[in-house]
C-alpha cells in the first residue's frame, strides 16, 4: 500500500528514506555510526514538528488514512473479542462496531465508530458516518453491559452522523438524543476515548461517560472546521482559521475541562506504530477502570451528571 504522507510529515519521511537508502546501499561497509546520527536527527525532527503542530495540522493527523481505527485498537489491546451485530429493529450499521472483549483479564463492552481504509471498505463503513440504527445498536449493547454489570468503553472517530434522507426518516436526532439520555444514568463505568475525529452530535452520540480520554492527535468539537468556515465565513477557504477559533485540540479541551486526560501517541503519531499506541491506551484504560470500579453505582451516576453539568461558561 502506498504510504500517505501529509505535507508537514514530508521532511521526516525524506530523512527516513535516506537512512533506508544508506542501509541498503552499504552492503559491506560499516555505516552504523552514520545511521545512528541520522536516526537521532530524525527523532529530533519529529519531536520538533510534532510539538509545533497547528490546530489544522492536528485535524489532518486525526484523519490520517493510516491511523488505527476502533477494530485495530480492539485487535491490538484486547483478547476474545466477539463482535455483536444489529439493533434488533432495523439492521446492522457498519459504521459502528461493538461487542464483548477482555481487556487484561476483565470482560468489557467495547463500542466504536469504524471507518474504512480504501474506497470499497469506506463505502461499506459509510466513511464512519452512522445511521440511526448504529446508535440504537450501540444502545442495545450498552444495555447488555448494564445487565451483566460490565464496564463500557466507547471509541469516537467519525466525521459526523450521516445526513441522509433515510437517516432523518428513521429518526437520527432521536437516536442520538436517546443515547445521551440513557448513557447519562447507566449504573456501570463508562470510559470514552476520542481516537480520531470527534465531530459533533454524531460523535457525542456514544460519548457520555465518567472519564473522557483523548488521544494526542485528535479533535473534538461541535462542527468540522470546513463546515464552520462555510457557515460563518460563507466560504470553504477559512478552515485553518475555523480550526483555530474552535479550539478543538486535546490541550484546548483539557483546558476547557471537557476531557480529563490526554493519551500520548508514539512519536510521529499513532499511525507510525499502531501496536504501541494500543498498548499505551490499554494501560490508561486499565488504570481508569481500577479507579472507577471502586465507586458505587449511584455515586457513579451522580458524578457523571454533575460532570456534564459543569461544562459551560456564563455570566449570572
Amino acid at each position: 500500500m502506498a504510504k500517505v504522507v501529509l505535507e508537514f510529515e514530508k521532511p521526516i519521511f525524506e530523512l527516513e528514506q535516506k537512512i533506508e537508502e544508506i542501509k541498503t546501499l552499504s552492503d559491506n561497509v560499516d555505516v552504523s555510526d552514520e545511521v545512528k546520527t541520522l536516526e537521532k536527527k530524525v527523532s529530533q525532527l519529529r519531536e520538533n514538528i510534532f510539538s509545533n503542530l497547528t490546530r489544522w495540522q492536528r485535524v489532518q493527523l486525526a484523519r490520517h488514512p493510516e491511523r488505527p481505527y476502533t477494530l485495530d485498537y480492539i485487535q491490538n489491546m484486547t483478547t476474545d473479542f466477539v463482535e455483536l451485530h444489529g439493533d434488533r429493529a432495523f439492521g446492522d450499521d457498519k459504521a459502528i462496531v461493538g461487542g464483548f472483549a477482555k481487556l487484561g483479564d476483565q470482560p468489557v463492552m467495547i463500542i466504536g465508530h469504524q471507518k474504512g481504509r480504501d474506497t470499497k471498505s469506506n463505502l461499506y463503513r459509510n466513511f464512519g458516518m452512522p445511521n440511526p440504527e448504529g446508535y440504537r445498536k450501540a444502545l442495545r449493547l450498552m444495555k447488555l453491559a448494564v445487565k451483566f454489570n460490565r464496564p463500557i468503553i466507547t471509541m469516537l472517530d467519525t466525521p459526523g452522523a450521516y445526513p441522509g434522507l433515510e437517516a432523518e426518516e428513521r429518526g437520527q436526532a432521536e437516536a442520538i438524543a436517546r443515547n445521551l439520555f440513557e448513557m447519562s444514568h447507566f449504573p456501570v463505568p463508562i470510559i470514552v476515548v476520542i481516537i480520531g475525529e470527534g465531530a459533533s452530535g454524531g460523535a457525542l452520540g456514544i460519548g457520555v461517560g465518567d472519564r473522557i480520554l483523548m488521544l494526542e492527535n485528535t479533535w473534538y468539537s461541535v462542527i468540522a472546521p470546513e463546515s464552520c468556515s462555510s457557515i460563518l465565513w460563507k466560504s470553504w477557504e477559512f478552515k485553518e482559521q475555523a480550526a483555530e477559533a474552535l479550539r478543538l485540540t486535546p490541550p484546548d479541551l483539557l483546558e476547557q475541562k471537557i476531557v480529563d486526560l490526554i493519551i500520548p501517541e508514539p512519536q510521529g503519531g499513532a499511525h507510525r506504530n499502531p501496536q504501541q499506541a494500543a498498548m499505551i491506551l490499554k494501560d490508561a484504560l486499565l488504570d481508569e477502570l481500577k479507579t472507577l470500579r471502586k465507586l458505587k453505582p449511584e455515586k457513579l451516576v451522580e458524578r457523571r451528571i454533575e460532570k456534564f453539568c459543569n461544562m459551560g461558561a456564563w455570566n449570572e
Binding site: 445526513p163 438524543a177 459533533s200
Partner: protein
C-alpha cells in the same frame, strides 16, 4: 378651459400612509394574506386564511400557555461569557451585545414557573431571533436550573424549542450542552416527573438531537420544520430533491417521532389534558 380643475390639493397617498401607525398590518409569508395585527394576535399569530403559524417569541408562548399574571421568570439576566474569545467575521462578544440590544432577550432561552390551567408548571422557551435560537452554555444552564426547580417543586417541565442547533461560537462547550440537558432530563425522568417537548418552526440540529426529542410527549406545531440535518445539507449529500413535506411536523408524526401535531389554539388545553393523566 378645464372642466376638471382641482380646487383642493392632490390626493396625498404617501402622507396618508404615514399617518397610519407603524406596522399595523402583517403579511402571511405562506399565502400572502394581509392581516391586521390585532386580528392576528387574537388568532394567536396564526393566519386566519391558511392557518400558517407565524414564528413567535417566548413572550407570546408564555402568554398563550400560562394563566394570566402567574408567570415568574428566573435568571433573566444570564448571558454568555464568550469562553473561547471566538472571532469569525465578527467578534462573538459583539454579536451577543448587538443581539441583546436588537431582541431585548439576554440569550436564546427563558424559563420560569407559573400556572397552566391552575397547575404549577416550569416552562422554558427558546427565542429563534437570538442567533438562530442556538444552544450555548446559557441555554444549557437554564435548562439545568429549570429541571432542578421542577424536581424541587415536583412539577412537570415543558420546553418549547425553536432553534437552528448548537451555537458554533462556543464550540465544544455548545456540544456538551446536548449531553448536559439530556442528563438533566434523565434525572427528571428518574424523579417520575413528566416532560413535554413542544417543537416549533424550526427545530433542528443539536436541539433536536437532545432535549427536543426526549419528551414523554413530543408535540409539534403544524408544518414546523423538525430534523437533525438541515434540508440543504441533505439535498447536497444525496444529490436529489427532497420529497414534499419532508421534515415537517406531520411527516415526523407519520414516521413515529412526534406524538401529535397540535394547532396553537389547542396547545394549552391539550398539554393540560395530558398532564392531568400522568401527574
Amino acid at each position: 378651459m378645464s372642466w376638471f380643475r382641482r380646487s383642493t390639493e392632490n390626493i396625498a397617498s404617501d402622507n396618508q400612509k404615514k399617518d397610519m401607525p407603524e406596522g399595523m398590518w402583517s403579511k402571511c409569508s405562506s399565502c400572502g394574506e394581509i392581516i391586521h395585527k390585532g386580528a392576528l394576535e387574537q388568532n394567536l399569530w396564526v393566519c386566519p386564511k391558511c392557518s400558517h403559524h407565524f414564528r413567535i417569541s417566548s413572550n407570546e408562548y408564555f402568554s398563550i400557555l400560562f394563566d394570566e399574571g402567574t408567570f415568574k421568570e428566573f435568571d433573566a439576566k444570564m448571558t454568555s461569557k464568550d469562553p473561547l474569545s471566538f472571532v469569525d467575521t465578527k467578534k462573538y462578544k459583539d454579536r451577543i451585545k448587538e443581539t441583546i440590544k436588537k431582541t431585548g432577550f439576554s440569550d436564546a432561552l427563558r424559563y420560569g414557573i407559573g400556572k397552566m390551567n391552575k397547575r404549577d408548571v416550569v416552562i422554558a422557551c427558546m427565542d429563534f431571533s437570538f442567533i438562530g435560537g442556538s444552544m450555548g452554555s446559557v441555554v444549557g444552564e437554564k435548562i439545568r436550573r429549570a429541571v432542578d426547580k421542577a424536581i424541587k417543586m415536583k412539577t412537570p417541565v415543558i420546553i418549547i424549542s425553536a432553534s437552528g442547533g448548537a451555537r458554533m461560537m462556543e464550540a465544544a462547550y455548545s456540544l456538551m450542552q446536548l449531553a448536559k440537558t439530556s442528563a438533566k432530563l434523565a434525572q427528571l425522568s428518574d424523579a417520575g416527573l413528566p416532560f413535554v417537548s413542544l417543537m416549533t418552526d424550526p427545530t433542528t440540529g443539536g436541539v433536536t438531537a437532545s432535549f427536543a426529542m426526549l419528551g414523554d410527549f413530543n408535540i409539534a406545531e403544524p408544518n414546523a420544520l423538525i430534523g437533525f440535518a438541515g434540508p440543504r445539507v441533505i439535498k447536497q449529500t444525496i444529490g436529489k430533491d427532497l420529497p414534499e413535506g419532508f421534515q415537517r411536523a406531520e411527516f415526523l408524526q407519520e414516521k413515529g417521532f412526534v406524538d401529535l401535531v397540535v394547532p396553537r389554539k389547542d396547545l394549552k388545553a391539550t398539554i393540560s389534558n395530558l398532564l392531568q393523566m400522568v401527574h
